[in-house]
Symmetry: C3
Subunit: 307 residues, 3 copies
Amino acid sequence: MGLSKKDILDIESLSVEEIELILDTAESLKEISTRPIKKVPTLRGKTIVNFFYEPSTRTRTSFEIAAKRLSADTVGISASASSIVKGETLVDTARNLEAMNPDAIVIRHKSAGAAHMLAGLVDASVINSGDGMHAHPTQALLDMMTVREKKGRLSALRVAIIGDIAHSRVARSNTLGFGKMGANVILAGPPTMIPRGIEALGAPFTYHVAEAIKDADVIIMLRIQKERQGGYLFPSEREYAQCYGLTTERIAGAKEDVLIMHPGPINRGVEIAPDVADGPYSVILDQVANGVAVRMAILYLLLGGPR
Amino acid sequence: MGLSKKDILDIESLSVEEIELILDTAESLKEISTRPIKKVPTLRGKTIVNFFYEPSTRTRTSFEIAAKRLSADTVGISASASSIVKGETLVDTARNLEAMNPDAIVIRHKSAGAAHMLAGLVDASVINSGDGMHAHPTQALLDMMTVREKKGRLSALRVAIIGDIAHSRVARSNTLGFGKMGANVILAGPPTMIPRGIEALGAPFTYHVAEAIKDADVIIMLRIQKERQGGYLFPSEREYAQCYGLTTERIAGAKEDVLIMHPGPINRGVEIAPDVADGPYSVILDQVANGVAVRMAILYLLLGGPR
Amino acid sequence: MGLSKKDILDIESLSVEEIELILDTAESLKEISTRPIKKVPTLRGKTIVNFFYEPSTRTRTSFEIAAKRLSADTVGISASASSIVKGETLVDTARNLEAMNPDAIVIRHKSAGAAHMLAGLVDASVINSGDGMHAHPTQALLDMMTVREKKGRLSALRVAIIGDIAHSRVARSNTLGFGKMGANVILAGPPTMIPRGIEALGAPFTYHVAEAIKDADVIIMLRIQKERQGGYLFPSEREYAQCYGLTTERIAGAKEDVLIMHPGPINRGVEIAPDVADGPYSVILDQVANGVAVRMAILYLLLGGPR
């Protein structure tokens, strides 16, 4: 069975069966990264464009490594070194890339909807690796993979997502993804970071971190995006840490075998205490390793078969 | 038959037979980019350095994809991340690159003559991908390939090149290239954009767009390079569009099966109206696709045989 | 015999036998770069991350070419396009990279000790390609390779290292390396550029260039790092050139078959006169070529065997 779609744009457009297929495939491909020769010829002769309008180390590197371990060729484009400085529109850039016959375009863009628009313009597979505050589906998939790997299931788990819900594509994609797979998601954050219309995400929310953490099987801390907010959403980092940061004391309210997750890069001492980030419940680095596996799975499922 | 030269520096130094060889080879290699496995082992073990002192998406990406589809290894160097910030001269950078035994160096540089100088310093093949206002031979070759593909010939076609002739390496290389292949080139642009000594290019010129377009088989619109001109060459973008921009009305004066071309990135609504850029006569995206094919042909012809 | 260590961090931690093994291996691998097909499959399926926090053309390119000629996959990360702008610590970046299972991480960083810290955090091999004013071991190894290639030996040669000793990781690594291999190193530079505690390097020093050059078999000129010093260590470039720059006249005091070396990029007319840099005694470009060979050797010795 393959994935009968061209693009991975968001969690909404993936069925439960498709998510399971991606996670199963990722699990079986994960082993490749631990071999002495970390490479299979599956995608030899495929061209993958990594198109990053926003700075990124981990996601870009993760996709590039995933592609290379499948023997695909990669071409990287970053906004600073590109025609974007010459004022070209995304539509024109997309059409131009398409004319070079890439098999997939991985795109990160500051505008919500950029990946969808691109997907409508090109025959290549488009993989959304973050569009504004909208979606980051591969992050949600690697988070679900990590939880399933550790807990054996996703259904009926209590998953608390804590922080700047309003500005987080990770929060949106995870709320939808874990919800779709039968988990019970609860959102928490300061009032300034809970968006209007949050009910549409289909998960309850609270302004009290302790309430969200209570009996949680999984806690996903969101990154405080200092570079985006200009500091007007909370008085200070110290105050944020006191009210919403994840500390050992706060974890005590959760289940005994709780998993602590974070999409990275972490702000130590702000949204997460160092001893928690590095502690026994943290699976933050498992998330990174599973990121490569999930991206290999997606590239394989989109490009690996006959089209 | 091979290409018995080390470098591709400009159109002047290519004979009619060499241009035909490059175009024929590009035509035969173009099919590779449409295969499921877009890769042949021809240049395995060759090292190609892409040395871009000026920002570029399409040309750099085109060369990188061309090299990888021939299985060459590519190394990219951009000015911002290089020794150039440390004040090294181009000569020293060139000699240093040479000592690492690259097979080809693709160079874009803001100074006319940079590629020629480099070619004189290194044993590697040098491919000029744009040097100041001087030359951009691979652009001219892909333009000629596109016209030949659509029209079946180059000779006796009327080719209008319109815009900032004075500052355009594309205009120079295309005027020389199409002229060499027997086409009748006519240049048009505002007086501030027609250089002194334009007669040396061997093509007539006019300040009236309609006159250039009349009975044209091919119209090549040049990009208004906002980032270079500081706006002093024409009063406003709107006025430029009114006087020199390509619109559906203006095209009516050309032949019925006219081809509309642009080297990209386009300024929609300035030198070209959106409905023209996306219209039935536009072959702008064919140019991009042929760009990969022409660059594959050049790399193959320069590096593919025994040296 | 292999190299029974995980990392290459500095010269101190390499034994005489290990240095000889690296140089012997580099000599035998050097020939690959002169073949028509410059590639062997030795490191196929290995992932090498080039992590450059400081701009670099030659070292980064040298490592990338070395890796590709051994068929390894490379992923480049530069500070400007990375999570560093998001404020992540080096420790967290390192752990995240590690989770993606790279086989080696090549790091350049402005802080002394960065490579050591990284090596302690990750299972991957770490190769220090320059950490602050501390060490640049691959530069010292390629310098030793170049001298051994030209002179047939390192022992009992007189090696003068001239310039900004205080701020030069190249000076430190070379003093220790040549000293370890039995050469007699002498250091020279202006008083402002000779560090306190220089005696610990185990080499005599002088403020008089002529004294250092006298009877030298090898002269290693250091780069004046304008971008680091703010100009307060010497009155002007002209004065530096007059007092400490290497000129044909000054070379006359050295042995007849003296070798002139420089790690590059050179400041022509400052620390070295153009006719000296390009003259018959200069082996500056041999250094660059040997740089690729030494890096191939290190990657091969660290990653090539069973681990």
